[in-house]
């Protein structure tokens, strides 16, 4: 199974290296969304209260994670668009690959790409929104756990609609409600990581992200078999 995982991951990353769809299209899309948030929410608004931070800095964690979610949707769509043509998923099954390995491989490839996107987006958000980073360790853990959660759950749901004409409209409807807890957890943990917010238990929220990831790791490995079996 681990060998199959590795094969799938390497295959998808090789395709990305030659096609550069994620780096040349999805990453600029994410950066654009960050800028558009700035336009939609005036940078001049200031939070009333003791913090006296600009509103955009105050809500930077939420905006960042929303941007990541939208970029992740596109990356997941791309990951399964690769398999849509010529019955590729059937071919993977017939090649004797373990369904759980296919699941983990696709999720791992998207995770690697998404972490790369998030790193650049994170620097972008740091520059554009100007938020400090009080706890870098917590921030790194949050990014990693949230990304794994997003890709594991996302891969499972994207496979439901793989190869269908309605894929582009169906996957967001399926994935976004499921990822609502991840958005919550990642935003809260990032708030603590950036502002050292005393009212927010950042590590507990990171724990929630870890539990979510573990759950979807198990569910995805179990469910991918029935999903890949056509007719």
């Amino acid at each position: 199974m681990l060998r199959d995982t590795w094969l799938m991951t390497v295959k998808d990353l090789r395709i990305e290296l030659t096609s550069r769809v994620v780096m040349a299209q999805i990453l600029p899309f994410g950066l654009l969304i960050l800028i558009l948030f700035g336009l939609a929410i005036s940078p001049d608004l200031v939070v009333v209260g003791e913090a006296r931070r600009p509103v955009i800095e105050e809500i930077a964690p939420g905006l960042f994670w929303l941007t990541v979610l939208l970029s992740a949707l596109m990356a997941l769509g791309r990951a399964f668009a690769l398999e849509a043509d010529d019955g590729n998923l059937d071919a993977l099954r017939m090649a004797g690959l373990d369904p759980a390995g296919v699941f983990l491989g696709k999720a791992l490839a998207v995770t690697v790409q998404l972490v790369a996107v998030e790193t650049v987006l994170g620097f972008g958000a740091f520059v554009v929104f100007g938020a400090p980073v009080a706890r870098p360790g917590l921030l790194a853990a949050t990014v990693l756990l949230a990304t794994v959660g997003i890709t594991l759950a996302g891969t499972l749901y994207a496979a439901l609609a793989a190869g269908l004409r309605v894929r582009d409209t169906l996957v967001p409807l399926l994935v976004l409600p499921v990822l609502a807890p991840v958005l919550l957890g990642a935003t809260q943990a990032s708030r603590d990581a950036l502002f050292a917010d005393p009212g927010v238990p950042g590590w507990s929220w990171a724990g929630l992200l870890a539990v979510f990831s573990l759950l979807y790791l198990g569910v995805g490995m179990l469910a991918f078999g029935p999903l890949l079996e056509e007719s």
Partner: protein
């Protein structure tokens, strides 16, 4: 009913219609469900009577409390329906029986219907109690996410796929969605709990008559739900039969066509 016996002898079997329409068109009612429906109507009328007339206004919420007599039963029906969807999905994956699949689908539609009812009555209750229709109340927020999640499930059930592939995907989704109900609910509750101290509930004391009104509402809604579920299941079953009948008919027509043009067995 045997079609081969009824057909006149000596004709070519290919001329015979493959699917014969029954004399009495099938319908979804039966004696038992008519009685069940009648019981539902009577119980709903009783619910209205107790909720609006007989039960007293509550000390804190006054007349707004009357919404609870339909709001809480709707919540109960919603969770039962989603539970049936999950159980039906598990059984479908284990047994492969189409009955379980149709039951899961029928229950999900019922759940979505009552979920929307829960959201509407909840908002209507929120206006006089909180002053606004929408609050970031944990239950309201998580129920809304739940609503959208099951709309996604219904969308998967309508995918253009071979029936068994579609059923299997829907079954996987039906199981995972039920687990998600808890994750979403728990995380949202935690989020609001941290930020607002506690949920925006209003203390409600229910005395005997109010409890009884609620109980009548619960029985009425469960009866109504059972009636709806049985009929939705039967409609789904008939729709599936028609789909297959249509396929058999199309095959028969094609066969008759090739026979008429005499192309069978001739090389072209």
């Amino acid at each position: 009913m045997s079609t081969t016996e009824a057909a006149p002898t000596g004709t070519d079997p290919a001329d015979e219609p493959v699917a014969v329409a029954p004399v009495n068109p099938p319908h979804t009612g039966s004696v038992a469900t008519r009685r069940l429906g009648l019981a539902a109507i009577v119980l709903l009328a009783l619910t209205l009577l107790f909720a609006l007339v007989i039960s007293p206004p509550e000390a804190n919420q006054r007349d707004a409390v009357r919404l609870f007599y339909i709001h809480l039963p709707a919540i109960a029906v919603m969770y039962v329906a989603f539970l049936i969807t999950a159980v039906g999905s598990i059984m479908y994956l284990r047994k492969g029986s189409v009955y379980w699949d149709l039951l899961a689908g029928a229950a999900a539609e019922l759940g979505v219907l009552f979920c929307s009812f829960v959201l509407v009555t909840g908002s209507l209750w929120g206006k006089p109690t909180w002053g606004v229709y929408w609050q970031w109340d944990p239950r309201l927020t998580s129920t809304t996410v739940l609503f959208v999640m099951y709309l996604g499930y219904l969308a998967v059930r309508r995918l253009e796929l071979p029936p068994d592939v579609r059923s299997r995907r829907a079954a996987v989704l039906g199981i995972v969605s039920f687990g998600n109900v808890f994750i979403v609910h728990y995380s949202v509750q935690w989020w609001r709990g941290l930020h607002q101290g506690q949920t925006l509930g209003v203390d409600t004391k229910m005395d005997g008559l109010m409890l009884f009104s609620f109980f009548i509402g619960l029985v009425a809604f469960l009866t109504l739900a059972a009636w709806l579920l049985i009929h939705r299941f039967r409609v789904a079953w008939l729709a599936r039969e028609v789909e297959q009948m249509g396929l058999a008919q199309a095959l028969a027509e094609r066969r008759a066509e090739t026979d008429a043009t005499g192309l069978v067995g001739r090389s072209r």
